[in-house]
Symmetry: none
Subunit: 259 residues, 2 copies
């Protein structure tokens, strides 16, 4: 029978309470990683809720990766405690990895047009700004052998943003900005990885230089092409990194199996 509640204003929501309660029990160490939870029927008894509500609560935990469930076996507390990435849209990408490449596709289109328009409409003032950003990035990469990836990412972003702003189209700036945020928040780890590798980094530097020159020299088509190449090669590299990560995960799973 039901739990209480005359909780006005806010809704009680039994299943959410169940999820919260179990999560707390896990955090408190009552249920430890790898351990088999009591069966659903038993938990119903213990928590005083129906199986429907309990199952909804369990599903929330499952969708957060806190427990893993197999039919006929039961639910176990997941080994890996999920990272603190409570980003709301991260879920989209986690569940639909393909979305990442859809995102890159749209972004390529916009970056390409952005570079083209910058080369076409950029004022001398714009060019000065773009040049500064480019040199800041370039100098940083050249000056130190041990780069701070996060800092480099900021410089990189600043460079692209300067070009986009030179397009003198605020809507374009805004749209591109939001897509870039989305991209970085979802795959920042991979991007970091990208900067760490000497090969791709060299390639990125060359491409940045080409974009920079084309825009500075007011060569729209060239600028667009360079930006497109830049983005597609980033896509390829991310794909490779992803494939590699999957390989690593698989071998890790094999190791676990032997334990």
């Amino acid at each position: 029978m039901v739990s209480n509640s005359q909780d006005i204003g806010m809704t009680p929501r039994t299943p959410d309470a169940v999820a919260a309660r179990l999560e707390q029990l896990i955090l408190d160490g009552v249920f430890r990683p790898g351990q088999l939870l009591p069966s659903e029927r038993r938990l119903c008894d213990r928590l005083g809720v129906s199986r429907s509500s309990l199952r909804e609560g369990l599903r929330v935990l499952r969708s957060k990766g806190i427990i893993e469930t197999r039919q006929g076996r039961g639910s176990v507390v997941a080994q890996l405690v999920p990272g603190r990435d409570d980003n709301p849209l991260m879920y989209l990408f986690r569940d639909h990895p393909r979305t990442l490449y859809d995102l890159l596709e749209v972004r390529s289109l916009l970056e390409g047009e952005s570079a083209r328009l910058a080369a076409e409409r950029g004022t001398p003032a714009d060019m000065v700004l773009i040049r500064r950003r480019y040199e800041a990035m370039h100098d940083y990469v050249e000056s130190t052998s041990d780069v701070d990836v996060e800092h480099l990412a900021r410089l990189d972003h600043g460079f692209h943003l300067a070009i986009c702003q030179a397009s003198h189209n605020p809507v374009l700036v805004h749209t591109l900005q939001s897509l870039t945020d989305l991209l970085l928040s979802s795959v920042f780890a991979s991007v970091k990885n990208l900067y760490h590798r000497p090969g791709p980094r060299e390639q990125i530097n060359r491409q940045h230089e080409m974009i920079y020159r084309a825009v500075s020299d007011h060569q729209p088509e060239q600028a667009r092409q360079s930006a497109l190449e830049h983005l597609t090669s980033i896509g390829h590299n991310l794909r490779e990194i992803e494939a590699e990560n999957e390989r690593l995960e698989r071998s890790a799973m094999r190791l676990e199996a032997y334990e």
Copy 2:
């Protein structure tokens, strides 16, 4: 279909499938932010699952912040990217009407690519849908001399949306959708005006037909070109209407001055 859940087993989990399906529908723009979803009973019927499974699926979406639910009311789609595609740009429009043409510029780019991809990737099923939307619009225009502008705008929007969805890129769908919303909310009056004039309306019809044919015949470049022309000509027409309105306003002001 997989969602999270380390579904190492082979069983297809109904609730996860439900969550994924609904999420896809939201991504595709079938259910849009702020919109009320069908009731649970109705969704059960439509998806062919029990209410228990459906509710578990909904709870996953709820825990991700994708939908919000209130007892006695229903579930509404939450803003996908909070604070992003809300209305930061709306302010721009108030201050700088020129932004409208920036918006059209970006939209042309996306519509063009959308049409190109649709022609390239569209499945037979996509084509059937596009054809239905096109014919619905076409028949309506042909059948009546005294069109309901608002209804026509909906049909028009549906046609473009169908093409965009045939691109099979949810990010593109979403981005284009939000830009279109922005456009309509800012200049719906002008768009109405556009439909009322026989000249531009004829032109629009011809262009729609060209887009339709190019996409149906799987001719990517042609489709892109047609979409681009369509948008640029809409831009021109809007410009004319705007100029005309300004003339009217000025003469109105002159009249006022005499009062």
